[in-house]
């Protein structure tokens, strides 16, 4: 843990040395992003509007108004393609918001604990230990389940459980960074603590933190889907892959596609994120 490679060129992507599989994953991720961002523009119907006539249509079937339901329809006649596209948007919005929140909070607490050490560190570390006592989804289920349903509550509940990973990593990295000569030098010439942290600590933890962010994004997307699957996540008015999978449970015998397709989409998103994350961890990650 003592050796932290100085990552000078974090943001220059060296395409030639990137493995093919990582490239494929990156392209897939960009695809998901584009679908989430612009996909809804190409869908002319309301993804949550129900239509009893067109319920449980198989993929490729023709709906009542003459259009083709490429991926079929669900138990209340909603088009699966619409569910898929709007669900991608929901997942990405939640994943990005959670990671952003966790990153800011985790970076702040982690650098403070690692840099100030002493009692600040003891207090923050104990808080982290306490939150770690609740396995992943437990805290999320409790918070999201007891508060009124909505996207903000889901993001908050996931963040309460998620910032800990960032704080732990940042703390351990900062611990060894604070002993480095350039940090001592900055302190000696009277640079203030916040500025030392921002200028001389954070640039060196950004690499490993970016690698962690990809894993945490995948985790947040999966947990949100799980939460919505249990009916404790997003309200029924929003479209979420977890809800779509849950809504197909009653029709597994007759309409397998309702549950199967969103799950495949979700797996694809998480696998691509994971592949990219593994690559980033290898290049920028701290050894854990």
């Amino acid at each position: 843990m003592s050796a932290i490679a100085v990552q000078g060129r974090l943001w220059t992507i060296r395409l030639r040395s990137t493995p093919t599989i990582t490239m494929v994953a990156a392209v897939a991720l960009i695809g998901y992003l584009l679908v989430g961002l612009f996909g809804p523009l190409f869908i002319s119907y309301d993804p949550v509007a129900t239509n009893v006539v067109d319920r449980l249509l198989a993929p490729g079937a023709v709906t009542g108004d003459g259009s083709v339901a490429v991926l079929g329809t669900d138990g209340v006649g909603r088009d699966m393609l619409g569910q898929l596209v709007y669900g991608a948007r929901t997942s990405i919005i939640i994943g990005v918001s959670v990671v952003a929140t966790c990153l800011v909070v985790g970076l702040a607490f982690g650098t403070l604990a690692g840099y100030l050490a002493g009692w600040t560190d003891v207090a923050i570390s104990r808080l982290i230990d306490i939150l770690m006592a609740f396995p992943g989804i437990l805290l999320v289920v409790m918070i999201a389940g007891l508060f009124d349903r909505g996207i903000a509550v889901v993001v908050i509940s996931l963040s309460v459980a998620g910032w800990v990973a960032f704080a732990r990593l940042t703390r351990s990295l900062t611990f060894s960074l604070r002993e480095r000569p350039w940090v001592d030098a900055a302190r000696l010439i009277g640079v203030s603590t916040p500025l030392v942290i921002v200028r001389h600590i954070i640039p060196f933890v950004i690499g490993p933190i970016t690698a962690l962010a990809t894993t945490e994004f995948a985790g947040a997307v999966l947990t949100e889907a799980g939460l919505s699957f249990l009916g404790l996540g997003l309200p029924p008015s929003s479209v979420s892959w977890g809800q779509a999978i849950a809504s197909g449970r009653d029709y597994l015998d007759t309409a397998w596609w309702i549950s199967a397709i969103p799950g495949l989409a979700l797996t694809g998103l998480v696998v691509s994120t994971g592949l990219l994350g593994d690559h980033l961890t290898q290049r920028l990650g701290a050894r854990r």
Partner: protein, 308 residues
């Protein structure tokens, strides 16, 4: 060793106290009046006020907190309004089913350690690529979706196994497989990197020089040394497994702690939520403490304070 054990145990107790505090505040901040939940929407204002006094909700927060702590310490979480029974008893009665499920899943997941060791020993070869790719895919699948797909294939299409409930030994197969899926993948990944790291150690290189084959070196020199991080990290994730049980039990109507918690949260049955969440936290902290001690026993560097 003794000193280390005592310090670890003391920290564990402190963490449990903190966890109880956190649960207390989450439940107090959560919207919705517990007295109202208890009495239902038809209660008069007078009845609600009475219930608030009875539950101690009219007291100042510090008094409520102290009251809560003494209750928790005596394992008295109040009665579940839905079942009309003490919450702690209900939660405890659901625990064996969850333990049975998680232990079965853990046993299945041990297969991942074997796969990981093979992948780590042959890093970069096709067998490593195959195993790693499989592990990543399995790890990326939503556990609840795996459950649904298993029901679709094994219960509905081929009618091999029951899709939900308990009773026969066959009932545990699908929930246990579902719960084991991501843990197996995780164990594969951890073991792979631990074994691969150990393979690069000088003493393993030396064993080749001594004339050992790769297989002999792995069995003789790598496995034990690579085991420490695997044991500690997987013990840390037994908690995740318990968390996963929350979802898996709900899918398969498995009568454990997890399905009880989900229904309690949906119905705002606060006493059960408190009891279940705290029980899981205590189990997790205890397991982590044991894992910590186990790591100290396996690797002297840990107990002597050096960073492992």
């Amino acid at each position: 060793m003794m000193k280390h054990a005592l310090r670890t145990a003391a920290t564990g107790i402190l963490i449990i106290l903190g966890a109880a505090t956190l649960v207390f505040f989450v439940l107090r901040i959560a919207p919705g009046d517990q007295a109202l939940v208890l009495l239902g929407p038809d209660a008069t204002a007078g009845e609600v006020a009475q219930a608030r006094v009875r539950l101690g909700l009219d007291q100042p927060l510090p008094v409520q907190y102290w009251h809560y702590l003494t209750q928790v310490a005596t394992l008295d979480f109040g009665e579940s309004y839905r079942f009309g029974q003490p919450a702690f008893g209900l939660v405890m009665s659901r625990l064996p089913a969850t333990v049975e499920l998680t232990l079965t899943a853990t046993a299945i997941a041990m297969f991942g350690a074997v796969l990981g060791a093979v992948a780590g020993a042959y890093r970069g070869r096709w067998i490593d690529r195959g195993i790693s790719g499989l592990a990543l895919t399995l790890y990326s699948m939503p556990p609840f979706w795996i459950g649904i797909m298993l029901i679709l294939l094994m219960a509905l299409k081929f009618r091999l196994l029951p899709s939900a409930g308990t009773g026969t030994p066959a009932h545990i197969v699908l929930p246990a497989l579902t719960l084991a899926a991501s843990f197996t993948a995780l164990l594969t990944r951890i073991t792979r990197s631990s074994v691969a790291d150990t393979m690069a150690e000088p003493y393993v290189q030396r064993s080749y020089a001594k004339g050992l084959t790769r297989r002999q070196a792995v069995i003789g020199h790598v496995v034990r040394n690579a085991a420490t991080p695997v044991v500690t990290i997987s013990a840390l994730h037994i908690g995740t497994l318990l968390g996963g049980a929350v979802i898996v039990e709900s899918i398969f109507a498995w009568p454990g702690l997890g399905s009880l918690l989900v229904s309690a949260v949906s119905n705002r049955d606060y006493s059960i939520v408190q009891a279940a969440v705290l029980l899981i936290a205590v189990i997790v902290v205890t397991l982590n403490t044991v894992a910590d001690l186990l790591a100290a026993w396996l690797d002297p560097r840990v107990r002597l304070g050096a960073k492992a």
